[in-house]
Amino acid sequence: MRSGLRLILFCLVAGAGQAEAQTIGYAQAIDLLAANCGKDIATYCGQANLGGGRVQQCLVQNQARISGRCKAATVEVVALLRKREAARQAVLKLCERDIGRLCAGVVAGDGNLLGCFLKVEARANAQCRQAVTDAGYR
């Protein structure tokens, strides 16, 4: 019952926003992992450092012992992070025509093209705009 209620609340709050990204960034990844793996990390990796990827390494080393819930969350988080990375790779291609139209004359490199484009992307095609959302650029 309680988790049902939480789900309803979550849907209501999430649904109130605009088109949601179908990917996550690292801060959200941490939120998901904290909620689902917090206990496992405290139990098995309490002394591990975040840097050097040591918390992840520790979870892998202890995978025989960690909870199914944490394992499932880890798989989901990795998939969502990869999807964001893929969206970042895809943005330039999906938005190519609009970028050419709206940012003519901008020299490519160091995110210059995207930097220009994000200021005017409301005028771009829908597929491109979804990629901008999924890339986490809003």
Partner: protein, 191 residues
């Protein structure tokens, strides 16, 4: 009772959500703060800051923390964000409750507005304990944040430098032991 509470709880949640979203730091706010208008002065570097901090320890005029002028006025003028990151006591291990903040910094550094820039992580302590150990600890803590930004969060190593200033650049000199002195700055140091 439950029937009454449930709609009330939902209404409250929907009502509170926008307000909460404003108070919780998000990567958009960080990206805005880190976009630099101020020119980075020539000669400004992480190694220079480290040297200034070392020299500060030996300077008798800087012995009293209440009168200790900031080491680098320039530092405060550059585009930056200040965050609090929790570490284990006397250690450079980032506490899990602060993983999210480091992840948020990483998310911001991926934004196209900031992609071409390099950044300095500057760690500060309060004035509890010795100046020299504080300087050393703050360097290790700044390094720990840099390490985490690089792996697991995938920021290119050449974009990030780390400097610890110990208690040599207190935020609150009137109260050198105040918690607000313990802070981390992420500073845009140009291309």
């Amino acid at each position: 009772m439950n029937r009454l509470l449930l709609p009330a709880a939902i209404a409250l949640t929907v009502w509170l959500a926008p307000a909460m979203a404003q108070t919780r730091l998000n990567s958009g706010q960080i990206v805005n703060s880190l976009q630099g208008l101020e020119e980075v002065p020539p000669g400004f570097s992480a190694s220079l800051l480290r040297k200034q901090a070392r020299d500060s320890l030996a300077d008798p005029l800087r012995a009293n923390p209440n009168n200790r002028e900031p080491l680098s006025q320039q530092l405060e003028k550059l585009a930056q964000i200040t965050v609090a990151i929790q570490f284990d006591f006397g250690s450079a291990r980032i506490r899990p409750q602060s993983y999210r903040t480091v992840g948020l910094l990483a998310d911001s550094l991926y934004h196209p507005y900031l992609l071409g820039y390099r950044f300095l992580v500057v760690g500060h302590t309060d004035a509890v304990g010795g100046r020299e150990p504080n300087l050393e600890l703050s360097q290790r803590r700044a390094d720990a944040i840099r390490d985490a930004l690089i792996n697991p969060f995938g920021i290119a190593a050449q974009r990030i430098e780390a400097v610890g200033l110990g208690e040599e650049q207190l935020l609150n000199r009137r109260n050198p032991q105040a918690a607000e002195n313990r802070r981390v700055q992420l500073i845009n140091i140009g291309r």
